[in-house]
Amino acid sequence: MSETAEATQEVAKEPKEPLFSAKNKRLLSDPMNDDNPITIQVLGICSALAITVQVKQSFVMALSVLFVMIGANLIVSWMRNLIPSRVRIIVQLVIVASLVILVDQVLKAFLYDVSKQLSVFVGLIITNCIIMGRLEAFALGNKAWPSFLDAIGNAAGYGWILIAVAIVREVFGSGTFWGFQIIPDAFYDLGYADNGLMILPPMALITVGIIIWVQRAKNTKLIEEN
């Protein structure tokens, strides 16, 4: 009885942090820009190259990563005091892997054509360093709510780059957006041609490079001293 009273008192003594305190907001906003997983940490590049030919694929990929990220971050954060540290990496891997299989199965059932295009890349979310990285670096040491925000922030930071690259590649490579033609036939009649190089992986890297360039030009504190 006294123990419970003491425990409640202790909890009450802690100053209650507002849900969207400045610190928590930074968890959301940092990965979008200053600490972007792709352009700053250069993680998850392989999927950024592979599935950014079309906006729709990228969008589904970004949503899948968002789902896996939130799920994994929350589960790991809830279990953080129960996970034996010696097997923590394997535990994280098992959690991520099962969430990914879940996504894959759901896509196969409800978005079959997209799942065929994404093919192995859904499975490869497991190896996406962003997810394991956030689990190790954040969820393992933080409460559920900040972990949840951190997951959204990082997945969104990953997603917006993915979609931005995909827009550039689809518009200039195929003349379409989300599968709909947006460059009128009149342009083609005048001699405009789709840039086939845009479809190939190297252009994804170059596009990411341009985004990094623009980002650093605007945000000078990101530029390394040497």
């Binding site: 540290s85 394997i90 098992v94 199965q105 059932a109």
Partner: protein, 241 residues
């Protein structure tokens, strides 16, 4: 509680694995009917694509029922056999069968397409490329020897080389080719090394440069599969004369 004790680590891992395995098995089982339906619809789309009928997954079933007026199943010696164990021609997975069954035990489906007076015969194919399985459908004109259209697909062929069998430009090379010579003997359609001049040759198709093994695989699967249909085709040709 000491979470780093050996016994705790073992117990934790065991429980985690059981929980994960159980929930994944449940999800997989409950989504299976929908996934199977998607695969069926895709197969319908592919069959229709070989006779140049484009369809979306939503309309595939409707169009399939409308245009595919008959489905038959042949055994290895070319005789028409009845559906067995409730498995009709459409249920036969030729790719799986090619891998697991001996040639004499395989069943050979035939789909008959009809649009007005226009009749086509669609034969599913399965074979192997350089890295893994390849498959497809080839559709014949009413005369049962001239190719009307074809589709091919693959699992793991080299992108840009063997994987090009998926592309329309390669598939279009088969159109108008014939599997019987002027004496009515079966000669199949050979896929020759890329770059060969096959202009005007009714039995040879130019392969893909750099994708020779995959191209040969396509030719092999056409020859081996169609051989089985020859007695049936001939019988039907004679009956219609």
């Amino acid at each position: 509680m000491d979470v780093n004790k050996n016994s705790y680590t073992f117990a934790f891992s065991a429980i985690l694995v059981i929980v994960v395995a159980g929930s994944l098995a449940f999800v997989s089982e409950s989504l299976k009917p929908m996934q199977k339906e998607n695969v069926r619809l895709e197969k319908m789309q592919n069959i229709l694509a070989s006779v140049k009928v484009e369809s979306t997954p939503e309309e595939a079933k409707e169009k399939f029922d409308k245009y595919i007026v008959d489905q038959k199943m042949l055994n290895a010696s070319g005789d028409v056999v009845a559906a067995k164990d409730g498995l009709g021609p459409f249920d036969i997975d030729v790719v799986k069968q090619y891998k697991t069954e001996k040639a004499e035990n395989r069943l050979y489906p035939l789909f008959i397409f009809e649009d007005g007076s226009n009749r086509k015969f669609i034969v599913p194919l399965a074979g192997k490329g350089l890295w893994g399985p390849i498959w497809g459908y080839v559709a014949f004109e009413d005369d049962m020897q001239t190719v009307y259209g074809s589709t091919f697909d693959h699992k793991t062929e080299t992108p840009g080389l063997g994987a090009e069998i998926k592309e329309t430009w390669f598939q279009e090379r088969f159109i108008g080719k014939s599997i019987f010579d002027s004496q009515g003997e079966f000669v199949s359609i050979e896929v020759v090394k890329g770059g060969t001049d096959v202009e005007g040759d009714a039995h040879r198709v130019d392969g893909i440069s750099g994708g020779t093994i995959t191209s040969k695989g396509v030719g092999e699967m056409i020859e081996r599969t169609l051989k089985v249909y020859v007695p049936y085709f001939k019988g039907t040709q004679q009956a219609s004369l």
